[in-house]
């Protein structure tokens, strides 16, 4: 039974096929409206994540399927002490596919090992969130018409941001990708990402703390939130936080065809004034996320 725990569980060829399917869904939604008729998606959310859960549910409804599930651990058998393995076995008797969010890293892997139906990891702690990366990839593809030969800037919290690590991992499989890693010293990309992904794949990269000095080089700017609690001192946070806020002024020196992405939710790292800029793609990313989840459900159900 095929499950998707990490973005690298999908080959670049499979991602290309899914992007093709996604584009077809966008152009011919009616063609897909009954593809999953009679099928049930179980959304097992052991921690709340309204956005991701609703995206999965909307995806399944748009495929003509049904949805069962829970949105927090307190309303599941986990509150009574049931293991993830047992939950996966039980839900396999009720549904055809599982989308699971869990606060512990590796929980989706345990579910996939024990379920007799496909499991999609909808986020396991700070570990993986492959469908967010699928949303990012479709957005980049739709904006640029390709997934190769471009300069991608990642800005903000590059240390703890799992979406950043996952997208770097996914992009490492395409040629001609140059990374510009923009973060305060405290939040630089962890060494294992640098060694095991970036250097191992001979990706060209450049690290800086200054967004304005590099923004003009970028084809994609992937923003993330710099959280107060990540800093060692309040002083340091106050000194640095504005450096990583994207404003219309900073965008003046950016390319006209820059695409600005953000996994959302945004707090203040992208000024609201940027939303009207045609280069802002973060709400398109939300739509693309739903479409890629549709493509993934279709793939895993063999529809």
């Amino acid at each position: 039974m095929r499950s998707i725990i990490d973005i690298v569980d999908l080959s670049p060829e499979e991602i290309d096929q899914m992007i093709e399917t996604a584009c077809d869904i966008i152009n011919n939604p009616q063609k897909y409206s009954e593809k999953c008729k009679g099928q049930k998606l179980a959304t097992l959310f052991f921690e709340p994540s309204t956005r991701t859960r609703l995206s999965f549910e909307a995806a399944m409804y748009e495929l003509g399927g049904n949805v069962i599930g829970f949105s927090e651990a307190s309303s599941s058998s986990a509150a009574k002490g049931e293991s993830v393995a047992d939950t996966a076995k039980v839900i396999s008797c009720y549904a055809d596919i599982i989308a699971m969010r869990h606060p512990k890293e590796g929980a989706a892997y345990v579910a996939a090992k024990n379920a007799s139906i496909p499991v999609i990891n909808a986020g396991d702690g700070g570990h993986c969130h492959p469908t967010q990366t699928l949303a990012d990839l479709l957005t980049i593809y739709r904006e640029k018409g390709r997934l190769s030969d471009m300069t991608i800037g990642f800005c903000g919290d590059l240390k703890f941001g799992r979406t950043v690590h996952s997208l770097i991992n996914a992009m490492s499989r395409y040629k001609g990708i140059k990374l510009v890693l923009i973060s305060p010293e405290e939040l630089i990309v962890p060494s294992y990402v640098k060694e095991d992904i970036i250097k191992k794949n001979n990706m060209e990269f450049f690290e800086t703390g200054d967004l304005e000095s590099v923004i003009g080089q970028l084809d994609i700017l992937y923003m993330t939130r710099v959280q107060r609690e990540r800093f060692f001192s309040e002083e340091e946070y106050l000194r640095l936080k504005d450096s990583y806020i994207l404003t219309p002024e900073k965008l003046k020196s950016a390319k006209d065809d820059l695409s600005i992405l953000h996994p959302l939710p945004r707090v203040n790292e992208i000024s609201v004034a940027v939303d009207d800029d045609p280069r802002a793609c973060y709400f398109k990313q939300v739509f693309n996320g739903k479409i890629m989840r549709m493509a993934l459900i279709l793939k895993l159900l063999g529809r």
């Binding site: 293991s83 993830v84 929980a107 345990v110």
Partner: protein, 137 residues
């Protein structure tokens, strides 16, 4: 220093100096009631210094643990006072229930009935990662 030779059991030799105690712990040798000798910093022409462990009992030995701690160690099986077999050691692809994941956010931290499994992800750098959360051992 004189350590008696053993009759039936095994000798783990050529352990990198300083790794003998770790091997002693991970093999659970503290739980044995037979004679166990751990000799540290023995002079070695080849290695400079090495550790040696001798176990005077015919018990099964987990070669995966030895391969994880020091794949260059050697294991000699002794029967009736004579060397009967030399076991080859290599780094195991998987290591099951030998070490625990230290990541407090790992699923194994809360579901303790799960096997603790680590996978060799980089043979050159000897890196093992938890199969659940991918944290380094």
């Amino acid at each position: 220093m004189n350590i008696d030779s053993i009759n039936n059991g095994f000798v783990i030799d050529h352990i990198e100096a300083g790794r003998g105690m770790k091997l002693y712990e991970l093999l659970g040798l503290d739980k044995l009631d037979c004679s166990v000798a751990i000799i540290k910093n023995v002079h070695s022409n080849k290695m400079g210094k090495k550790d040696i462990i001798k176990i005077d009992a015919d018990i099964p030995v987990n070669l995966d643990v030895i391969g994880y701690v020091d794949p260059s160690a050697t294991v000699n099986i002794i029967k009736d006072g004579a060397l009967v077999e030399k076991k080859s050691i290599s780094m195991p692809e998987y290591l099951k229930n030998v070490i625990k994941c230290r990541n407090p956010r790992c699923i194994t931290a809360v579901e303790q009935e799960l096997d603790q499994v680590f996978k060799l992800t980089d043979r050159e750098k000897k890196i093992y990662r938890c199969i659940y959360c991918e944290s380094e051992a």
